[in-house]
């Protein structure tokens, strides 16, 4: 068996390791499209914050892949010929596969405003971006961050820790709009402002101009102009569809990402996809979804690999989950935190203490989503409760009175104490 994996991010790496363990005889070739050691995007903010050096961003120790007998190839895959099961590499060589995994991740979106190609305007996506940002984000530098979504907010902290003077511009009406409701977003914004970050929500960046040899002028709505040495763009991500884009036609079934079935298989039976590049389904609604988060990427990589080597394993669907630490304030969200039709909501907010808990239940008394601000202990149990999809029974009413008893609810409802009234279906 000859397995090729396009993309050596977390999804590709976990898939390669899983294939290796599950099929010791097979050839496993992992293609890394960047001329860098195999690294983790997620670790970049900690590099910028001086918590680690570049080595600290590496996904695996040097020699790891060789030791396992995984062939790591530093070649971008340029195209795939589906009929002949062949990939073409950047150097023009062709390679045959029996099964192919596409784990090429996502790319950062570039907003359609003038000036995005100026020096001093950067995404924060690759190690190369990190080096360019580090060169410009010096203590006292003026930096504008465009986009206060989840990834934007992680970068926000790293920039503040570098000692820059930071202004954040967010087009929507609050920070992390896909992770926090108005209450949580407002707490986060107040917290950032107390730490000296200027945050402008409901404001668009209209364009960027050069305003001096090393200075940019960032133009916003209502005539506001922010001078800056650096503009960091974090306005969302898009699955990398180059391999399936064939002129204007798409060669595999594609929605926002490459569509996969619950076995991570694409519309071509010998081609699988995992991670930020794929469109799987939401764990609760079953609707098509791309969540582009690390836990989903690695779980899909593992499941894709098992199915590729003939061990049928079904993915339960992607569960959105995010945790953010913004200069000491930990915010967390899971699942359908905005609630579902016919469901019920429990909310406890203490804005003065930057604490907030919101739990959402469906009509069958199952937990379907949660927001947590400032209460980071045992947050993982929320995932446990969401994925068990079991009615909470008597615990629902207890949680409505005291939502912070969530960890107790989990322990009471799980195996340690017997399955009780929350037994799995």
């Amino acid at each position: 068996m000859r397995y090729l994996i396009a993309g050596a991010g977390p999804a590709g790496v976990v898939a390669a390791e899983t294939l290796r363990r599950a099929d010791p005889q097979a050839t496993v070739r992992l293609f890394c499209g960047e001329q860098e050691p195999v690294y983790s995007r997620m670790a970049i903010p900690y590099l910028l914050a001086h918590k680690i050096d570049e080595r600290g961003t590496w996904l695996r120790e040097p020699g790891h892949f060789e030791a396992l007998g995984i062939e790591l190839v530093h070649q971008r895959i340029e195209s795939v010929e589906w009929d002949t099961h062949t990939v073409r590499r950047a150097d023009g060589q062709r390679e045959h596969y029996d099964r192919l995994l596409i784990a090429t991740g996502a790319r950062p979106a570039t907003p359609p405003v003038p000036g995005m190609d100026l020096p001093g305007v950067r995404h924060c996506w690759t190690l190369g971006d990190a080096r360019a940002i580090a060169a410009r984000a010096r203590p006292g530098s003026r930096v504008v961050l465009m986009g206060a979504g989840f990834i934007g907010c992680i970068i926000l902290e790293a920039l503040v820790l570098r000692g820059v003077r930071l202004t954040v511009i967010e087009a929507e009406d609050r920070m992390v709009p896909r992770m926090m409701d108005a209450t949580g977003g407002a707490m986060l914004q107040a917290w950032c402002e107390r730490k000296g970050v200027r945050v402008h929500t409901a404001t668009q960046v209209l364009g960027v101009e050069r305003a001096g040899s090393d200075t940019l002028a960032v133009h916003c709505e209502h005539g506001a102009v922010h001078p800056a040495e650096l503009l960091v763009v974090a306005t969302g991500v898009l699955p990398n569809l180059d391999l399936v884009a064939d002129g204007t036609r798409l060669s595999l079934e594609t929605g926002r990402g490459i569509r996969v079935d619950p076995w991570q298989r694409s519309s071509d039976p010998d081609v699988f996809a995992a991670g930020d590049v794929c469109e799987s389904v939401d764990w609760y609604s079953g609707e098509r979804a791309v969540y582009a988060i690390q836990p989903a990427a690695v779980e899909q990589g593992r499941i894709a690999a098992l199915n590729m080597c003939g061990r049928p394993v079904r993915y339960a669907g992607a569960l959105p989950m995010n945790i953010l630490d913004t200069l000491g304030l930990v915010t967390v969200s899971f699942g359908h935190w905005a609630g579902v039709p016919g469901g019920e909501s429990v909310r406890r907010a203490e804005p003065g203490r930057s604490r907030y808990l919101r739990l959402e239940f469906d009509e069958r008394d199952r937990l379907v989503g949660a927001i947590v601000v400032g209460l980071p202990e045992h947050v993982g149990v929320l995932r446990g409760l969401l994925q068990r999809r079991a009615p909470l029974g008597a615990w629902k009413a207890r949680l409505a009175r005291s939502p912070t008893r969530i960890a107790e609810a989990f322990v009471a409802c799980t195996a340690t104490t017997g399955l009780g009234d929350a037994a799995s279906p």
């Binding site: 997620m42 600290g56 695996r60 836990p295 049928p312 993915y315 947050v379 993982g380 799980t414 399955l419």
Partner: protein, 159 residues
């Protein structure tokens, strides 16, 4: 033979010795808030339940870690946090569906049960035998119950 923590809630009296022993072993202080094992008190039922990482086979925390900072100790089988690799991103704290990995603001790293390198302090100081450290197959029953309580269907299918 690998050993595992066996927890029998019925024997727990809620004395908190395990939490104190754990925090002292790892942090040098007697402070239940910094313990890796936690005793839940269910007032309604007058029941105490010690709760910590089961070193589960799925190792969600290890899988989710972006920098290989959670590794298996070959002697104990425990999933351990390698402090100098952990960047404090906390993804493991939400990926673990048991909620047994937590963030320590003081160090900027996550903490979880590491079986104390093979001599768990919680078991050593438990006066009633509610927590014991036994050959792994003796806790097979608990493991099976855990299995039944699986958090996803994929793991069942891969059995």
């Amino acid at each position: 033979m690998l050993k595992a923590l066996s927890i029998v809630p019925d024997k727990c009296t809620g004395c908190m010795q395990c939490e104190l022993a754990c925090s002292y072993e790892h942090e040098g202080v007697f402070n239940p808030a910094r313990s890796r094992i936690r005793v839940f008190h269910f007032h309604d039922e007058a029941r105490y339940v010690p709760y910590t990482c089961t070193q589960c086979a799925e190792a969600w925390c290890q899988l989710a870690c972006p920098v290989e900072a959670i590794q298996i100790n070959p002697h104990t089988g425990a999933k351990e946090v390698i402090e100098n690799l952990c960047v404090g991103c906390k993804v493991c704290t939400i990926a673990c569906p048991f909620g047994t990995v937590n963030y320590n603001q003081a160090t900027g790293k996550v903490i979880k049960c590491d079986l104390c390198g093979g001599d768990p302090a919680c078991a050593r100081y438990c006066p009633t035998g509610a927590i014991t450290y036994v050959d792994a197959d003796l806790t097979a029953y608990e493991r099976m119950r855990m299995w039944a309580a699986r958090t996803d269907t994929q793991a069942q299918a891969s059995a």
